[in-house]
Symmetry: C2
Subunit: 302 residues, 2 copies
């Protein structure tokens, strides 16, 4: 069945009515056909956190890509930004823009992926919108949640002398892992509960693009020890710094805390490597000249 044969109301009914809603969603929000999603606000005195992201056919996934994987990726990308902020995601709204020839089964599988990804982090899909298009399929996901004031992390707090760490392994994610990654929310929440993280971000465009962003936001320079980069199986250093789509955490922490961090990390997350890859340095001018470009929209890799 094509979307054309169904119509928008029935499509939204099918996609949204049977979504499982988390405990923080009131019955008011259950009317998926309503104009707005309305939910209990449990954020209390915490800060409200918002993130929107999208994936575009032909850019972030290809026409033949497995639909649940596409949905998974569409949800996990903004959730990875919650990890970067050490925030707790709660609610998502999804916009699907697709041609009327799109197959309904594909769309249902897409939502299966979106839902599965949301459930992994107790995120409720509370609303959505659809539009027709004559172009590629676009899935836009916006997520709202909270972060405690004293645990909110940005790219901006990096200090000279800080050690730079990355989680997991880098490179070769664009083949398959970019469709099945799990954002480092648990790890990020543990980090800010137990340590003072000065600056943090998730690696989506490649270390070569993302690390300069963190340094620029912190008004500081950096040094990488390329030989120390944790490489994925089969990855070369170039892949690890410029391919992108790793969705690992990059963070800066005082060197005083590094030893304790590494020790406790191994006990808490024994399967996930944590690697010191360099440090932040005083002079904003000092950057490794050998860093080639990662992926930047609207621009060819340098």
């Amino acid at each position: 069945m094509k979307l054309r044969d169904l119509g928008e109301d029935k499509l939204l009914d099918q996609l949204l009515l049977h979504l499982p809603l988390g405990k923080t969603v009131t019955s008011r929000a259950a009317g998926a056909g309503d104009d707005c999603a309305v939910v209990e606000n449990r954020a209390g005195r915490n800060l409200l956190v918002l993130k929107t992201d999208c994936i575009v056919e032909g850019v972030h996934f290809f026409p033949g890509t497995n639909a649940p994987d596409v949905g998974w990726k569409a949800m996990m990308r903004p959730l990875s930004d919650f990890a970067a902020t050490s925030a707790v995601p709660q609610f998502a709204v999804v916009t699907l823009i697709a041609g009327e020839e799109t197959d309904l089964a594909w769309v249902k599988n897409l939502y299966r992926g979106l839902r599965g990804a949301g459930e992994r982090f107790r995120v409720s899909i509370v609303g959505g919108e659809t539009s027709s298009t004559r172009g590629p399929i676009v899935i836009s996901v916006s997520v709202v949640g909270f972060v405690e004031k004293n645990r909110c992390v940005s790219r901006r707090g990096g200090k000279a002398g800080d050690d730079l760490f990355v989680t997991g392994r880098l490179g070769c994610a664009t083949k398959r892992r970019h469709l099945q990654f799990v954002p480092r929310i648990a790890e990020s929440r543990w980090l800010t509960k137990n340590f003072s993280i000065h600056a943090m971000m998730d690696l989506s465009d490649g270390l070569a693009v993302d690390l300069p962003r963190l340094a620029r936001a912190s008004k500081i320079g950096f040094k990488i020890e390329l030989a120390n980069l944790p490489l994925s199986r089969g990855a070369k250093i170039d892949d690890a710094i410029s391919e992108g789509e790793d969705y690992e955490l990059l963070f800066a922490i005082s060197p005083d805390q590094s030893k304790k961090l590494q020790k406790q990390w191994c006990r808490k997350f024994p399967k996930l490597p944590l690697t010191r890859i360099g440090s932040l340095v005083q002079q904003p001018a000092i950057r490794n000249p050998q860093l080639p470009g990662g992926y930047v929209h609207f621009q060819q890799p340098g």
Copy 2:
């Protein structure tokens, strides 16, 4: 200058860094390059309200459309849903999906429209995302705000015997007004402050599509008095019920309150008509058979 020549980071810098932020946005949110937008949560014990919507080139606007008008419409569409819910919008995040040949001046003018529309209702654009595409331009806007528990309205509370009212005039909006409309947030907030509104929605797809949605959500039937429809200049009854893009309010209220409502409305909003167009009736089966279809995505008008 084309987007291709600028790159994503500089584009986001230009679009987001100089946005005026409302008082409820902390300085933490000012780093537009951050992974998430982080704002003070002033919703307190109120309900949190979320809405996302998008506009697509070739569907909701045409390539030659004035860019500030496109931005205005992209922001005002989700805000119209806040009016329907009687909610107060506070924060918006914007995703722009555009080809790399898109002209930077056009994009800046688009943001001028988005910003102007946000400022009209004290909505701060706190974050955003961009992606390249090989297809039509898409602008997706997600808005977060709040509504007091006792003032939250949906499509679902309509009761048999309720009078149905619409604000403004209907029809002929697709020529020009759909790009410059002002959502009825002030009117909606006044309504729920002073009256008990049983059910409400905004008219975006045309009365012929939208009224049955309200009736279906309220599990009830309706009668329209077509001769009473408030027509825009030059509009015929068919235009008024099936063209869509009116962004006026449709609401149901107890007939006991109708007289008082009409009297007070005239004093409060002397320039905006308020018209009783029919009523809700017990039998879900009773619907005006002469209602042709409005605009439904993925489906030809009936």
